[in-house]
C-alpha cells in the first residue's frame, strides 16, 4: 500500500456533501454518499471547469453547480447523454478516517 494520506474524519464531511482538499495536483473534491461511501474527483468539471465539490450529491453522482452536468463519482464519467470525464483519485475509509492516494 503506497502513497495513502490521511485527509479528515468521515464526520468532517456531511452525508451527501463534500470537502475540498488542496494538493500538488490541484484541488480534489472528496464526496460522501448517503451510504457513507467516499470518492475523490479532480474538482474541475469536464464541461467548463466548474467546482464539482459545490454540486448536489445524489446516488453515486454529483450535479455540477454551473450548468448541471451529472458526473458519476466512481469513474468520473459524465452520465449519458452528457459527455466528458473528470479525473478520479483513490479514496478509502478506514476506521472512520478518510484516506487519499495521490498518483
Amino acid at each position: 500500500m503506497t502513497g495513502w494520506i490521511r485527509v479528515c474524519a468521515l464526520d468532517d464531511i456531511a452525508p451527501l456533501g463534500s470537502r475540498v482538499v488542496a494538493s500538488s495536483q490541484g484541488d480534489i473534491a472528496i464526496f460522501r454518499t448517503a451510504a457513507d461511501q467516499v470518492f475523490g474527483l479532480h474538482d474541475k468539471c469536464p464541461h467548463k471547469g466548474g467546482p464539482l465539490s459545490q454540486g448536489i450529491v445524489h446516488g453515486n453522482a454529483v450535479t455540477c453547480p454551473l450548468h448541471g452536468l451529472k458526473i458519476g463519482l466512481k469513474d468520473g464519467e459524465a452520465v449519458a447523454p452528457d459527455k466528458g470525464c473528470a479525473k478520479t483519485f483513490a479514496v478509502k475509509l478506514d476506521a472512520g478516517e478518510v484516506w487519499l492516494q495521490l498518483k
Binding site: M1, C8, L16, V20, S23, A34, Q54, I56, H58
Partner: protein
Amino acid sequence: MKKQKLVVVGNGMAGMRAVEELLKLAPDLYDIAVFGAEPHPNYNRILLSPVLAGEMTINDIILNPLGWYADNGIRLHVGKLVTKIDRVARKVVAADGTEEEYDRLLLATGSTPFMLPVPGNDLPGVISYRDIKDTDEMIATAATHKHAVVIGGGLLGLEAANGLKLRGMDVTVVHLMPWLMERQLDKVAADMLKASLEARGLKFLLEKQTEALLGGESGRVAAIRFKPAPGYDPGDGLEIPADLVVMAAGIRPNTALAESARLHCNRGIVVNDTMQTYDPRIYAVGECVAHRGIAYGLVAPLFEQAKVCANHLANFGIARYTGSVTSTKLKVTGIDLFSAGNFMGGPGTDEIVLNDAAGGVYKKLVVKNDTLVGAVLYGDTADGGWYFQLVKDGQNIRELRDQLLFGQNHVGDGGHAGVSKAASMPDEAEVCGCNGVCKGDIVKAIKSQGLFTLDDVRKHTKASSSCGSCTGLVEQILASTIGGAYTPADAKEKPICACTDHSHGVVRQTIRERHLLTIPGTMHYMDWKTPDGCATCRPALNYYLISTWPGEAKDDPQSRFVNERAHANIQKDGTFSVVPRMWGGLTTPAELRVIADIAEKYQVPTVKMTGGARIDLLGIRKEDLPKVWADLGAAGMVSGHAYGKSIRTVKTCVGAEHCRFGTQRSMEMGVKLEKMLFGMGSPHKVKLAVSGCPRNCAEAGIKDIGVIGVDSGYEIYVAGNGGIKTEVAQFLCKVKTDDEVKEYSAAFLQLYREEGFYLERTCHYVARVGLDHVKAAVVSDPLTRKALYERLLFALKDYADPWREAVEKPAVRREYQVIEIREAEVVS
C-alpha cells in the same frame, strides 16, 4: 418459476415501443419472441420521408438494431409473416412453419395502404408508400424514369411528392377533394400550401377521380386516366403520362390476422382502455387497433397506447388509455404548417382568424365555451406547441382571449433574434442563445438519436435547458422534424423529474395532507424511484417541506443549490460574490468605507452596482467568505440575499423624502418591507420596488411586487417580471397606510409561498392560478389575508442570520474550509 411467454406479432414502432416500456417496468417477467414480416429490425417509419428526400439514409433511421434484441434476450423472427393464431393451443404460426407458444400475445400489425380498386392497380410501377421496400423502389425509379403521379394529396402523398421532386422527377399530385390535406387543413391554409409547393415545381390536379392505370409496351405503367367530371370540356386531356404511380390514398388497419383468429374487429382490432382485445390473453396496440371507435395513424397516440399496454403486461394494472388529441405537422423542409384538434369549427364554435396572404401567414383558432378546441397555423407556427397544450389541457382561455392569436409572445423573449418560424430557419441559425445551440445541431440530434420529446432534446443538446425562452422554437423544430409524432407533455401532470411520477402539485399536497417532515420520509411515502433523488427534486422537496411546516421541518443544506448553501453567489470560476445588505438601497459614508476596506483587504477584483441597486463584490474565494462576513458584522452590517430563491432586494426611489414630485416616503416604505421580509425563502426569487409617485423611477412595474405611492396612499401591483420575458405587473389593489402595504404584500407572498411550484416565478404562478384567485384571498377577504400575513410572520420569526452562523458555528464554518494535506508525510 418458469417465465411466462410473450409473443409479439409486428416488429414496428408501436409494438417495439410497448416492449421497451415493458422491459423498463419488468425486465425479467417474460420470455419474449417477436415476429416481423419486413426483413429489417424496427426502424423509424416516419423518417422514410427524409430518406426519400435524400436527407438521410436507411441506416440513420434504425431504432432498435439487431444487437438490441439479442441484448434483451428477445427471439426475433425477422422476415416472417404470421399467418395463424391458434387460441386454443395458444400458439402462433408463421408462413414458413415457425411456431411460438404464448401466455400473452401482443398484436401490433400496423396498417396496410389502401390501393384504389381501379383497373391496372397491379401493374409494375404502381406502389404504395409504407416501408423501406417502397422507398427503395421510388429512389430507384427516380434515377431511371421521368413522370411520377402521386394519388392522394394528404400528408403522406405530399411528402412522397416532395421527395420524388427533389430526386429529379416531374411530379403531379392527383387529389379527389377540392383542397389538399382536407383532414388537417381548412381551405385557406391548404391554398397557401399549394401555392408554395407549386413554387417548388410540383403540379396539382384537384377534384380528379382516377378511372384506370394504363400499361405501356414494356408492361410497366405508362399513364393514368381520369373520369370526366360533370361539365367536362372534351378539349382537356383526360390522360397524363406516369412511369411511377404512388398510391397514398389512405390506410386500413391491418386486421386480417386478428379476424382469421375470430377476434372482434370493427374498423380495427377492438380493444378496451387497457389495450386488451376480446380475448383477455391478447393485447393490441398501434395502427391496427380501434379504441373507442377510433383508429389512430400518428405515432404519438400509439406510444401512449404502448405505455398503457406495457403497464398491464407487467401486471401493474393501473394505467388506462382514454384516447388522444392529435396534431399534425408536414415534414417538408421549409414549410411551416401546423394543425391540431377540431380546426374546422362547427355549430357552437367561434373562430379567431388572422389572414396575411402577402406576408404568407395564416392563423385560425377555434374556440368553444371558453376553451380552445382547434388550431391551424401556416407560415408562423412558433406557438403551435402552446396552442396544442391549451387544446389538450382544456384550459379556460377567457382571460387570454384577446391576446390568444398573438401567441405566447415567444417573440418578445431575448436570445434568438425574434425568430418565430422554425422550419424556414437555416441550419446555422442559433436557437438557444444560452448554450449556443444551432438549429442544425438539434435536427441532427433528433434524427440520429431517435428523440421524441422536449426532454430528450434538452438532455442531448442542452437547447432550451437553461433559461427556457427558446422552448417554443425547440418544440417547433421537434415537430417539424418528426411530424405529428410529437406531443407536448401535459403541463399539469408533468412529473418533477425522472426520480418520480408525481407532479409538483401532487407532492405539495401530499406533504401537507400527510404531514410529511423530511426528504427521505417524503421519498419513501411517495415511492421515489431513486434512493436520494437528484439535483432537481431535492431542492424542490426541501422548499416544500420547510415552507409547509415552518419550525417543524428542518432545512437540509445538502439539498440546496450551492448559492443557498454557501450564502453567496457562485461565479463561473468557482469564486463567489458578496452583496452587502443596504436596506431599501440606503447606505452611509461609514458603510461605504467598510465595503471599500473589505474590497482592498481581500483583493476583490471587481466592484460593481447590481441591477437591484446594491454594491456587488465579485471574485471572493470561498475560504474568505466567513472572514468577509465577520468584517461586515463587526461594523454592524449584514450580507444580502442577492443569490437565493428568496427575497432579493427592495428597490426604492428617493420619494417624498427628497423628490419634488414625491407623494409618499418611498425609501422608508422600502426599508420597512425589506426588514419585514428578511430571510424569506420562496419558490423562486422575489424582487420588490417602491416608487414615491406614478413617475415610478424605481421601475415597480416589472417587479414581483411593485408599490407606487399616490397622493391618497399606495397602489400595489403584483407578478411583474423583468427577466427572460418582460411581464408588466398587474394591479392588485389600492391601500392607504404603510401597515396595509406590509400586510397585503406579505399576504400575497405567503400565498405564493404556499401554492407556488418550485422555480415558478410570481408571474407564472399568477398566470396559472389566475389573478381572481389571488384577489379573493388577499384583497376581498380580510380574515384570509390576516391569516396569511400571520403565517408569514410566524415562518420568519426564527430566521437566523446565516452569515453570522457561518462565522460563529464551527460545524457550519467547516463548509468553507479547504483541507490542507501534508504530502511529504506519505505513509508507505
